[in-house]
């Protein structure tokens, strides 16, 4: 969508209040969804809960194709469809709910920078591990991604997705890295997040912001998802303040809703935090 059209749409969006029947679409939780998509989806759900906006989670096999940008998750609110955390945050801001209003310019710059760090390092590492590591791709990613479809569509779609992700890794220079270096990058990213968090409850002291939602989404999913080995989860676990951060958000925002919509309960995952 061009910028002018986006601005127009957000003007319209601002006019309507949040409806009862807002829906969030993601791929099938039990069989299909992969680590990176699950993390993004959880981040959006956490953000919506932090804003106090109710949303129903709907799992569809073709969520990725329904999305306007090709990425999950996306939300369907009134007659608008918005995908990915960044545009969703702006959309909700146009409706009058915002978590980062209390921040000054420098803090907002920091928040954006840290969100980019998570996207740049953690998300890319997750994609790399899922699709560029042959063992994981063969054992987990390709079977799961193509599970709703029958032969030969499942093979075609799985390989197409893998090829797409590998091309992207090539373009940004990650194809030359091996798995060890990727784990090392994840570790450095977690170290940076851990140092920024320090002993505070949230990244910007008392109030949670979209950065907290994003970090929680990724870390919680990494900790509760079973991959071919546990090394990724181990890297995150070595930072105790990040673990307690995840626990705290889980307790505050998810336990009170009887754990129905908690995304950590797929067969693919180990359930709640250890």
């Amino acid at each position: 969508m061009s910028l002018a059209a986006e601005a127009f749409v957000s003007q319209i969006a601002a006019a309507e209040p949040w409806p009862e029947k807002a829906t969030l679409y993601q791929p099938l939780k039990e069989d299909q969804i992969l680590l990176s998509d699950s993390a993004s989806s959880l981040a959006v759900q956490t953000f919506l809960r932090m804003c106090g906006l109710p949303v129903q989670v709907s799992c569809c096999a073709n969520a990725e194709y329904m999305s306007p940008s090709g990425k999950v998750p996306f939300i369907h609110v009134g007659n608008q469809v918005v995908s990915e955390l960044g545009p969703i945050v702006q959309f909700i801001k146009a409706k009058g709910h915002s978590l980062s209003d209390g921040l000054d310019d420098v803090q907002r710059a920091e928040m954006k920078a840290y969100m980019e760090l998570v996207n740049n390092m953690l998300l890319t590492a997750e994609l790399y591990i899922q699709w560029c590591d042959d063992y994981t791709a063969t054992e987990i990613s390709r079977p799961r991604y193509s599970s709703p479809y029958s032969w030969p569509l499942n093979h075609i779609l799985a390989y197409q997705k893998q090829w797409e992700v590998r091309r992207k890794m090539n373009a940004i220079g990650w194809s030359g890295k091996n798995l060890e270096q990727v784990y090392e990058d994840v570790s450095q990213c977690c170290q940076a997040l851990s140092q920024r968090l320090g002993t505070q409850p949230y990244f910007f002291n008392k109030q949670p912001t979209e950065l907290d939602a994003l970090v929680f989404g990724h870390l919680f999913t990494i900790l509760t998802t079973q991959l071919t080995n546990d090394e990724l989860a181990e890297k995150v676990k070595s930072y105790t303040n990040l673990l307690s951060f995840c626990h705290r958000i889980e307790q505050t925002y998810f336990k009170e809703h009887d754990r129905e919509s908690q995304s950590g309960s797929s067969r693919h995952s180990k359930g709640s935090l250890p």
Partner: protein
């Protein structure tokens, strides 16, 4: 002391030690941390197409990519980040990620994809700095790499069309520059009074944008309005890259005033450089051993 470390990078122009962002980052960091590098430019060699620049050679090992090179220099105890706190170190990583995600696509677009700039500035420069017959291939290859990087990372899958992505990447880049400007505030460098690796990264990204004579540069105009970033860039050039900063004029008035003024200033700079060269030659002649000390000096 072992032999000095050797750095391969693209050559310099437009008052910069190098026109290539990654090479600038490494050069700036080396100056900040006091590492002595023997800089070899790959212009006019076959390395323009074979080497991935910048490349650091030391003893037997080779390191590429700015982040790896900076890590390597730190291990050799050339550390410009020594005095940063843990939180500042974390902030450094975050801001570098911000630069890579938000600013780099727009920079790539400005130099390599925008038709005006590519045809009038980037391609002629790289063609003239590559040997025959590589000058036919080098710019085209860089341009297609840049385009594919932008499309793969920023374009949403149904619309793999560069024009629709352009608006988005430029607005993100302008926002990123504004954020950097807010963060820098009135300080000389991002973390106090001494430059660190973050300063090297920011310098590497914005210096070509400030200094290159781009025919169509909306991002450049936006950057010129952010005085503190221009000032930051000029300070680094003046203090750390002395040789090319002799007669520097402030960048911001030049871009906004009419072109006649800009031409006049460029002409003045050239004349000044010429006169410097003549003076140096004169000095050399005077101090040369064949020249008898009590004879009249040449005119």
């Amino acid at each position: 002391m072992a032999e000095p470390m050797e750095l391969l990078c693209w050559g310099g122009d437009w008052d910069l030690p190098s026109v290539h962002t990654d090479s600038l980052i490494v050069l700036a960091y080396a100056k900040f941390s006091g590492a002595k590098l023997a800089v070899k430019s790959i212009d006019w060699t076959w390395r323009t197409i074979t080497a991935s620049v910048p490349q650091l050679h030391y003893e037997a090992s080779t390191v590429t990519e700015p982040t790896q090179i900076l890590n390597f220099l730190r291990k050799q105890r050339f550390n410009a980040d020594y005095e940063l706190t843990a939180k500042q170190g974390a902030d450094t990583m975050a801001y570098i990620a911000l630069l890579e995600e938000k600013l780099r696509p727009a920079l790539l677009h400005t130099f390599w994809v925008d038709a005006d700039n590519y045809a009038n500035l980037t391609r002629p420069w790289f063609t003239s700095h590559s040997p025959f017959p590589l000058n036919f291939f080098v710019p085209g290859r860089q341009a297609s790499l840049a385009l594919s990087r932008i499309l793969l990372t920023k374009a949403e899958s149904p619309l793999l069309n560069i024009t629709e992505v352009e608006g988005k990447i430029y607005s993100e880049a302008k926002e990123c520059l504004n954020l950097l400007s807010h963060r820098l505030g009135n300080f000389h460098f991002f973390f106090g009074d001494t430059p660190t690796s973050l300063d090297a990264f920011v310098f590497g990204h914005i210096a070509p944008l400030i200094k290159a004579p781009l025919p169509s540069g909306q991002l450049q105009k936006h950057l010129n309005q952010l005085d503190n970033l221009c000032q930051f860039c000029n300070t680094i050039l003046k203090n750390y890259f002395n040789a090319s900063a002799e007669k520097r004029t402030d960048c911001s008035p030049t871009a906004i005033h009419d072109p006649v003024d800009a031409n006049l200033q460029k002409l003045t700079q050239l004349v000044n450089k010429e006169s410097n060269l003549i003076e140096k030659m004169d000095d050399n002649l005077r101090s040369s051993p064949q020249h008898r000390p009590n004879s009249t000096p040449p005119s």
